[in-house]
């Protein structure tokens, strides 16, 4: 339910950002994050909003966690 996924910021337009991970593209809200992320930053996205900015190593670790947690057989819901 509160699953939050790391994604990379591709573009910022006002309080919306285009983010990407593994070929999945999303437009997400920046309404509840301060300071704002920059293009190229890794962020944690929950239910369509950025909730946190993290570094790349942390993003990789979390992605690995999801692979371990859900296995390759399961669809990860973004």
């Amino acid at each position: 339910m509160c699953l939050a996924v790391p994604m990379k910021v591709i573009e910022i337009d006002g309080n919306r950002a285009k983010v990407e991970m593994g070929g999945t593209m999303r437009v997400v809200g920046l309404d509840i994050i301060d300071p704002l992320p920059k293009v190229g930053d890794y962020v944690i996205v929950h239910a369509g909003f950025v909730i946190n900015i993290i570094d790349e190593a942390e993003a990789q670790t979390i992605l690995h966690d999801f692979a371990v947690l859900f296995g390759d057989d399961d669809e990860v819901h973004f």
């Binding site: 339910m1 509160c2 699953l3 809200g29 944690i44 239910a47 909730i51 966690d65 947690l69």
Partner: protein, 365 residues
Amino acid sequence: MKYISEYRDRTLCENLSEKIKRSHRKPINLMEVCGTHTMSIARNGIRQILPETINLISGPGCPVCVTSQYEIDQFIELANQKDVIVTTFGDLMRVPGSRSSLQKERANGADVRVVYSTLDCLAIAQKNPAKEVVFLGVGFETTAPTIAAAILAAENKNLKNFSVISAHKIVPPALVALMENAQVNVDGFICPGHVSVIIGAQAYAPIAEKYHVPCVVTGFEPADILQGLFMLVEQFENDEAKVEIAYRRTVTWEGNRRAMQILDQVFESVNAEWRGLGVIAGSGLKIRDEFSEFDALRKFALDVPYAADPPGCACGEILAGTKNPFQCQLFGKSCTPETPVGPCMVSSEGTCAAYFRYRARDIEL
């Protein structure tokens, strides 16, 4: 490379479980508060590598599971109103209310749509000006600020046909209620990862202090969880009760202040009923009067009778940690993920669903 990193993980986990065994003397009951932890513990067979005297209990960690039967019935009633489009996250669709579920109502013609974010709801409202678009707000502190942001955006856009039914719950008051419950026996909390990103680890400090109970925030990888367990066992053996963070750089002491501020701007805390735990003071979020035009409960006068939990379902005791799923008479018989009786079997993070899916590993114990 994949295998090397997994091997390293395994070595790391073995080292951590050795460390736990070395520092552990007194029997201890530890509760994981988050449904994603419950899943990870079951999936990775963490119970099996721990001494029997370390008892892991699953708590009220999934917002879908703690939503009361009455609230589910309200959602279903809303879906049946004329000219209403109900929007929701997918997890709620199959949760049985007293007579139906959102999925069944949709099959019967109700306009119920699964969305990924509240931003989608705003777009639906703009496209359907003749209809009222209602979002079913279920979630903890991770989710509630995103709903608050949508309400603020709707106000900004002067969107008159969007509203929210707020069944949000907040976590720290539930931990207080568990500590106050004489039936519940918890010596330490494995605190939720993502809720803590928002509220910050300091939110647990009053609980750790007042009830002298160690609280450790951890992530979801087996090594994270084992590290958190080690820190809890150490504190317990040393008779300490601190808040600690084992979730690397993702969780901070003060949390996401902007998110908390938006949450506060739109919601005020009220008493709320949790499935299985009853009414908990200050644990719910009501839309403030200033935003009443976005409050679906004020826009629609719903007449829904109070409903008790389904007969035979032990979800209540499971959420309070006084029973495990194997102790429910319906588990794996009339209640399975295909034919769920209670929400703990429906939600992907529900305790019963986790035990059902990975029960072979737990039964080996």
